[in-house]
């Protein structure tokens, strides 16, 4: 470890209109890990990512990426938004979308060329989508669209990735492909933060977790942090049963088949 954290957040507070969505969130993310951001609906998981990336204004707090501001480090940051955030009937094809990942490196006015096409195809190949490069994006299935978004983030060639619910509404095959990719990124020393919903797979997928519900409930290595007490505090009493199941060691194994 170099001593510089890929991501440091301190005292982060975000509010929409009058409602405070996140209060006083602070944590450090270690390098080269897969980190799950876990919490109930409306807990502010997506907002946390968006505030770090400067997509929503923060009321207070500091965000440091590899020791610098997001503005200066943004070429080291890759982002996978929620699939529903765009209109897939846009007139463009899969490769074109992936090449958008290079727009930040290209800068103003310059168009993507042969080099960008090559890299774009390579990234599509990594997510198993090279056969669909010329396909109009509305004619892709939900899982394929999600993989195109992942390939676009890969094309950014970043060191720190943020993924907003990449597993939402995808089939088992895509979920496996995404997990394989996450491990590949990790083995290259990249750090990946993933907003995640399915408690059953948390222990299996992530090295570290952030438990969020309006504030940071707990953060740390999954085996120490994914405890019934912490889940109780994150989800409240109504989640007692599911939480008990999810936290039992055997459950994650059963779900992996």
């Amino acid at each position: 470890m170099t001593g510089i954290f890929p991501l440091q957040v301190s005292n982060l507070t975000v509010a929409y209109q009058k409602k405070t969505v996140l209060r006083n969130v602070g944590f450090n993310i270690p390098e080269g890990k897969l980190i799950g951001i876990i919490g109930p609906n409306g807990a502010g998981k997506s907002t946390l990512i968006k505030a770090i990336l400067g997509l929503v204004p923060k009321v207070d707090g500091e965000v440091s990426i590899f020791g610098g501001s997001y503005r200066n480090r943004r070429k080291q940051v890759g982002y996978v938004p929620q699939r529903e955030s765009v209109d897939w009937d846009f007139p463009t094809n899969a490769l074109d979308v992936v090449m958008m990942g290079r727009y930040g490196h290209l800068g103003w006015f310059r168009r993507p060329g042969a080099e960008e096409r090559r890299l774009g195809m390579e990234c599509l190949d990594k997510v198993g989508m090279s056969a669909f490069s010329g396909r109009q994006i509305s004619q892709l299935s939900g899982g394929q669209q999600q993989r195109v978004f992942l390939a676009r983030a890969l094309a950014q060639e970043a060191d720190l990735y943020f993924m907003d619910e990449p597993f939402a509404g995808v089939d088992a095959k895509t979920e496996k492909a995404i997990i394989g990719l996450l491990h590949q990124l990790k083995s290259q020393g990249k750090t990946v933060l993933v907003v995640h919903h399915d408690l059953a797979t948390v222990e299996q997928y992530f090295d570290h977790i952030l438990l969020v519900n309006g504030e940071l409930i707990a953060a740390g290595p999954t085996n120490e942090t994914f405890t019934p007490e912490n889940l109780q505090r994150t989800y409240g009493g109504t989640m007692a049963l599911i939480k008990g199941n999810a936290a039992s060691p055997g459950y994650g194994g059963d779900a992996s088949c």
């Binding site: 990336l53 982002y79 846009f90 463009t92």
Partner: protein
Amino acid sequence: MLNWLAGMLTDPNVRWILFGSLLLGLGNGVIGSFSYLRKQSLLGDTLAHASLPGICISFMLSGVKSVGLFVVGAILSGMVATFGIHAITRYTRIKQDAAMGIVLSFFFGIGIVLMTHIQHSGNGNQSGLDKYMFGQAASMMKPDLYMMAAVSAGLILLSILLFKEFKLVSFDPGYARGLGYPAAALEQLLLFLTVVSVVAGVQAVGVVLIAALLITPAAAARYWTHRLGVMVVLAGLFGALSGAAGTLVSSALDNLPTGPVTVLSATSLFVLSALFAPGRGVIAKALVSRKVKSDYVLQQAGNSPELQTTVKASGEEV
């Protein structure tokens, strides 16, 4: 017909007006593609209607019919209208479509009141101002044409230069911001270009119908292609064709305003596209679904034992 066309084209005045309306249609089609894809088609219409009070106030303050001043006035009132929509959606529970409806009719109402006031003021200069309602390409002077052509050329040039940026911000503005592009500024620029293209066309096509030149060619072009670049060029061509048709027909027939003819031409192109475009067109879709159904019926016939015999009897391999 050809003689009539050739006769008209020898008139240098008509040639100029034709050239201007071609460029205008081209520029509107190009910018309109981005409005259409950003689902802001109605915003163009609101801005067009909102330009009327701006034009009237410029005239009342200056006392002259200067296109340059009108453009400034129209842009200012367009900006006030955008601000109004923004304020309504932000501070009330009213959604954007209702906010646009309110602002559009309010500004148009003010425009009509001001225009009526001007027409009864006895100012000799005012004659022709009413042409801004439905447009009269034939009434345009050389300087107006230069202005219109220059603005349209500028719009097209900017769209070529910033094609990549406009594409990114139209498809995924959040991602654009993440990459470090000033998405909000680019969206503002697109909005500003929409205002400019609307205002540039107001004299030729009129405030009431100019939005059609923005939206309809883009909607028609979307039927033919799955590539943004092709769509933008096609929308430009459809717009140019509609503009030219509107100008020629309204110049040939006295007292026929240009706007309605332009809009009818654009709409014809849209109907043709919606019906006959391969892939997305109504007819192509109907043919595909019929083929899928008949294939399915054949397949079922192949799978069910009692029908299998009849199929086999007729010598078909399953």
